[in-house]
């Protein structure tokens, strides 16, 4: 009879919720020895890449709620980001900040693949790049003492010299030489994608905001098409930095810019080959990526797509990755996952209608004369 026709949908939903809740406890996998509940601190600390990804896709910097979202969603990133988005809908927008420059960041990692040495120095930081992906079986059963010992040893070995609070941007040197266009400050306020729908063509700030909270896999997939050859970007990572960016808000009483806290972000600036002709001397092009959390793949993919979209806007899109509408309307995880899941909802009214059309078309093909007559007599 189909699930819609079942009386008591309410009970079914409640029972589905109970099942899911039981599954979340892990008791189903190991009924004899249920595992310890995961603490929010453990999620923030030990699953920090996951946590950063959810913060970024949720598009609101609330580390506690992001950890709760991961716990509630049992680790599903799409669902976890969704929790943050829905929560955000209940919050009014109380104000806006001035643009924040990545140069003020307290970095934990900064690298450039453009120059061997950069002012301030390359700083590898906590990078996964040179990991050898071999299992460390000893982690299968790890004691809290062991975790503490690792941290203690690291703190003990900290060097005496203090790092500077900020580092110069690699791009500044290129700018000084005139190899990059001077930064332009758009006179318009930044486009707020949570308060305005995208109507194409959209300003660059709308594109950047959309990509910054995009679902990582979708963004990477489209960016990868541009990297492989559906496009001609040829980027070089001028600088990739990860760190804590001070957030400066106008003071509620004095209006003075006041540091209110800091957020962990990843920022990537890619430089692409020049293509500007005409009277002006040619310059490099710049692609920019930035997102919450430590998430280098996303920041790099975003910077490449930023460049591709700028090219598409100038010359007309020649590839999917250069088409703003194609990219920006297909990278949001909450949208795409919701719509994908909606196909599980009952569609039997529309399917009934489809059946009607198919049967009618088949009747027409099988007996054209009678069908023609039927068409005549029906008003």
């Amino acid at each position: 009879m189909g699930y819609v026709a079942i009386r008591g949908g309410e009970t079914a939903i409640a029972e589905a919720g109970r099942l899911l809740e039981t599954l979340r406890t892990g008791a189903v996998a190991a009924p004899a020895a249920p595992s310890e509940p995961i603490s929010l601190d453990a999620i923030r600390g030990q699953l920090h890449f996951l946590h950063g990804r959810v913060l970024s896709e949720g598009g609101v910097y609330h580390p506690d709620l992001a950890a709760l979202a991961i716990k509630q969603a049992a680790g599903d990133t799409l669902e976890a980001a969704f929790f943050l988005r829905a929560w955000r809908s209940t919050r009014p927008r109380l104000g806006t900040t001035e643009p924040h420059a990545g140069g003020t960041m307290r970095v934990i990692r900064r690298i450039s693949s453009a120059f061997k040495e950069i002012p301030g120095g390359q700083m590898l930081g906590p990078s996964t790049d040179y990991l050898q992906r071999l299992f460390r079986y000893e982690l299968m059963d790890e004691s809290p003492d062991r975790l503490r010992a690792i941290a203690r040893a690291w703190l003990r070995d900290l060097p005496e010299e203090r790092l500077p609070d900020t580092f110069p941007k690699v791009l500044d040197a290129l700018r000084a030489e005139g190899l990059l266009p001077a930064p332009t400050r758009s006179p318009a306020e930044a486009f707020d994608i949570t308060r305005q729908p995208l109507q194409f063509p959209v300003p660059r700030s709308a594109a950047l905001a959309t990509m910054s909270r995009a679902e990582q896999g979708s963004l990477l997939g489209i960016a990868y098409s541009a990297m492989r050859g559906y496009g001609d970007i040829h980027p070089t990572v001028a600088e990739l930095r990860v760190g804590w960016l001070p957030v400066v808000l106008p003071h509620p009483i004095t209006g003075e810019p006041t540091e209110a806290g800091e957020v962990l972000v990843t920022e990537c600036e890619t430089v692409a080959m020049f293509d500007r002709g005409g009277d002006q001397p040619p310059v490099f092009n710049l692609g920019y990526g930035c997102c919450f959390g430590h998430n280098e793949v996303k920041a790099i993919a975003m910077s490449i797509l930023d460049r591709a979209l700028q090219k598409g806007a100038e010359d007309g899109p020649a590839h999917p990755a250069e088409d703003a509408e194609f990219v920006l309307l297909h990278v949001d995880g909450v949208d795409s996952m919701g719509f994908c899941n909606h196909y599980k909802l009952p569609h039997y009214v529309t399917f009934q209608s489809d059946l009607d059309r198919l049967r009618a078309a088949r009747r027409k093909q099988q007996s054209p004369e009678t069908a023609e007559a039927a068409l005549q007599e029906t008003p």
């Binding site: 009014p92 996952m337 919701g338 899941n341 909606h342 909802l345 009934q352 009618a360 069908a371």
Partner: protein, 289 residues
């Protein structure tokens, strides 16, 4: 803060008042320009995109204590999705009554159906919309579609209908049938069957269409023309419910032979039919008891 996060800190209607105001203003604009898709910001809801968040936002922006709400999916109040949406609205809108009786509701949120009896003066029907633009079947680029709407250029839709007739001797659009509103904009009336389209025409009640994921709201105001696209010599036709002997199929539960029927395959290979509109079916059973 965290413990109340799910219900928006208990704020009536979940959304903050700025969001509701924007949605109401968007609805007003939509009513003023019948059939025109008005863009709006469309907040994320705690219900997944594609499950009726566009309709839900309109409902939450319009509803107030004293309203009587009906929520249906596939014509039925008991569908899991309808149950879920209703329960969310009840949780966030204390003081609102619900009903399954079409005639008693002030506000009806629906997916895929218009009630068989249509809607009366003073009633609002909120439809959930997956694809707001009828032109998407012939043009994938939204910027170009907007230009086509602005210029009233529906030529490619007409060609699509014509080509259907050439290839299949039938128009193959089953649901989401393109319908011209007030002689101007062509809308996607949401995935309602063709059966329901005539009820949009000069209806005494208001139809609001909400596409949450696509961030558009549009309207068919009361007493407004709604004409499904059709050729002079090929009239628009709704779904047929004819038995093999040529007679009209009837509902197995209430015996109605004038409603949209769900077809239910039986284990023995046969079929049973019953009303898709559960309230219609219940009323019909009462009347003929």
């Amino acid at each position: 803060m965290i413990q109340h996060a799910h219900t928006g800190d208990g704020h009536f209607g979940f959304l903050d008042e700025f969001a509701k105001k924007e949605i109401r203003r968007t609805c007003l604009k939509a009513i003023c320009i019948p059939g025109y898709q008005v863009p709006y910001s469309s907040r994320e809801m705690p219900i997944a995109r594609g499950f009726g968040t566009g309709g839900l936002q309109i409902t939450l922006a319009l509803i107030g204590p004293g309203d009587v709400l009906k929520v249906i999916d596939q014509g039925s109040d008991d569908s899991v999705n309808a149950v879920n949406l209703r329960s969310f609205i009840m949780q966030t809108c204390p003081g609102v009554d619900t009903t399954t009786r079409t005639a008693s509701a002030t506000l009806i949120q629906t997916r895929h159906r218009v009630p068989e009896v249509g809607i009366a003066r003073g009633q609002v029907l909120v439809l959930q919309v997956p694809y707001p633009d009828p032109l998407v079947i012939v043009e994938s680029n939204e910027l170009r579609r907007r230009a086509m709407h602005a210029e009233g250029d529906y030529a490619r839709l007409w060609v699509k209908l014509y080509e259907d007739l050439v290839r299949f001797k039938e128009i193959t659009i089953a649901h989401r049938y393109p319908t011209r509103i007030a002689g101007r904009y062509v809308i996607d009336p949401s995935p309602i069957p063709r059966w329901d389209v005539p009820r949009l025409h000069r209806s005494p009640g208001l139809f609001l269409f909400g596409a949450g994921r696509e961030k558009k709201i549009y309207a068919v105001p009361p007493f407004t023309d709604a004409d499904p696209l059709s050729f002079d010599d090929v009239p628009f036709r709704v779904e047929e419910f004819r038995a093999t002997d040529g007679g009209r199929l009837t509902c197995a539960r209430c015996g109605s032979h004038e409603s949209f029927l769900d077809e239910i395959p039986l284990p023995d290979g046969g079929k049973r039919h019953q009303c898709s509109d559960s309230d219609w079916c219940a009323r019909h059973r009462e009347d003929h008891a």
